[in-house]
Subunit: 123 residues, 2 copies
DNA sequence: CTGAATCCTCAAGGATACTG
DNA sequence: CAGTATCCTTGAGGATTCAG
């Protein structure tokens, strides 16, 4: 069942595979929202503010699929579902935080460079 | 000329802005290709293998615009253009490397989790 | 050699309505 | 409450052609 009859060249570079999935519009935000504690669906909706149910659902599923998030369904009425980081999810946030810190520090400069560039080479 | 008449809410989060631009298909690859040394356009084409002129051009321009890469034009015949990392570009690669290392280490597990998930919840 | 301009395709993102 | 199904729009990615 391993189904590795032949090596494919789809993902020559792990970081690309990871970034392709986590580098979308919401994944990182969701992971960060879940970092302090497990949260329910509608709570995530509220905290993320401008995300739609559709996108949150898709994002959570992808994160669950790749093993960043664990989904727990409580057989209650009304339904309750909690999402929490897996150890892999927490592990991922560590190096990611360095990057976030870098972005915080350099963002102003980037925006300035961008503006300068745009001004000297308009439309 | 500052053109900051009003504060906009476009980029509430620096990391999102950075990832939106660097998290595309080629930017990171280009930065890594430029890390050891400055390189010419067609050299980058060759090293990246499956990138088109179009995309390489766009990617380089975006990276130049955001201040990761410096572009040097030599007034020669035939034209020669070299790209090299700026200090910001090199600086960026530092935290990025932690992430790359993380991806290398966890990629196999992610792929496995993904496959397992797909098998238990097919089409 | 280095790119810009044009055109095309496909999938990410999203609004909305429906379901268990 | 927590989703899924459907439909739509936009833009990233890419092949090709033209230009300096």
């Amino acid at each position: 069942m391993a189904s590795d009859a032949s090596i494919t060249f789809e993902q020559p570079c792990p970081i690309r595979d990871v970034l392709d999935r986590i580098g979308d519009k919401w994944s990182l935000l969701v992971l960060e929202a879940l970092e302090p504690e497990a949260k329910r669906f509608h709570i995530l909706m509220r905290e993320l503010g401008d995300i739609s149910k559709q996108m949150l659902s898709r994002t959570l599923r992808k994160l669950e699929q790749d093993g960043y998030v664990h989904r727990t369904v409580f057989a209650e009425v009304p339904p309750r579902v909690e999402y929490k980081l897996t150890s892999q999810g927490r592990s991922f946030l560590e190096p990611m935080k360095s990057l976030v810190a870098w972005a915080d520090k350099h963002h102003a400069g980037i925006v300035m460079a961008r503006d300068r560039f745009t001004e000297s080479a308009p439309a």
